[in-house]
């Protein structure tokens, strides 16, 4: 092995045997025990968990990472702070978290391959990639009352006129923290930590009761 960065990193597929090992989403307990009202025609907010996606934290220089991402995923880093961009299929997203940190979300099972290709491409550059798929989960909120629901939950200004599509911020959510992103006109996303998932879920059910919130499973 050459003395490249790749050879010094112990890289393994944390989901290699997922076919034989049962996996539970961070909301598995909540969906069983905290209730999951079915969406109805009156629902102005519909909640759904996008479980088992691949979440990768990329750290390093923006130019180096941007070039590597364009080669590997055919999409670059978002140019502005607090924004996110999607690839052509809309399945993979990259979000600015801090001047040297981005969150890459890819479809489930892809994280290992993407990480390895990025590491091969980045080689000796100064960078870090951490697979945090097991530590957080993505919730989507859809409906016209989502901004009202979020206004009760986060300190950030989520008025649609201020929070354009493609914006994403890390902010205080209830008494925890969450990443709030807007992926469409009436479609919003929350990235919550696994340890706070049940709390945030129950908060959303409680806050969304007046909008007849429904949970799609």
């Amino acid at each position: 092995m050459s003395d490249s960065a790749l050879s010094r990193v112990n890289l393994f597929d944390s989901r290699a045997d997922h076919a034989s090992v049962a996996v539970e989403s961070p909301l598995a307990y909540s969906l069983q025990r905290s209730g999951a009202p079915a969406p109805s025609a009156a629902s102005r907010v519909v909640l759904r968990e996008q479980a088992f996606l691949g979440h990768l934290i990329l750290r390093g220089g923006a130019i180096v990472l941007d070039e590597a991402l364009r080669e590997v995923l055919d999409t670059g880093l978002p140019g502005r702070p607090n924004t996110l961009s999607w690839d052509a299929s809309g399945e993979r997203s990259i979000q600015w978290l801090s001047p040297d940190e981005w969150l890459l979300i890819v479809p489930g099972g892809e994280a290992f391959a993407v990480e390895r290709r990025l590491r091969e491409r980045l080689a000796d550059a100064s960078f870090a990639i951490v697979d945090v798929s097991g530590g957080q989960t993505l919730l989507t909120l859809e409906g016209e009352a989502v901004p009202e629901l979020l206004m009760k939950s986060v300190v950030y200004d989520v008025d649609p006129s201020h929070f354009a599509v493609g914006k994403g911020v890390n902010t205080v959510f209830a008494k925890a923290t969450a990443i709030v992103r807007r992926s469409g006109e009436t479609r919003w996303e929350l990235v919550v930590r696994r340890s706070f998932a049940d709390y945030c879920y129950r908060w959303l059910l409680d806050a969304g009761e007046e909008y007849a919130i429904g949970v799609e499973r």
């Binding site: 607090n82 801090s98 940190e101 300190v155 890390n170």
Partner: protein, 113 residues
Amino acid sequence: MFQIYCPYCEELREEEEFHPKGQAHIVRPADPEACSDEEWGDYLFFRDNPRGIHHEMWVHAVGCRKFFNVTRHTVSYAILETYKIGEQPSVTAEPSAGEAAASTADVRQGVRA
């Protein structure tokens, strides 16, 4: 609503997302071995407590998690500017009485109501 401008996020964010981290621009002695106990003690433990302009470090704890500098007035609590780590403050002296009256409206934005 009390908002602070984060120079890394490039927008005003809620106070709740930030933490103060003490005096800014403290330089570690280049050669600690050559310091007297008094010099080293000053560096480690003694901080300014001015009446007026004060340069502080804050961290955007629930956001980009970067440290940055704030110039704050310790009497009015007004935040006069925020700037990135490694940069130098542009506000280093109290405005004169005339300037202070003229800029009251701006200053109020950074004061807790």
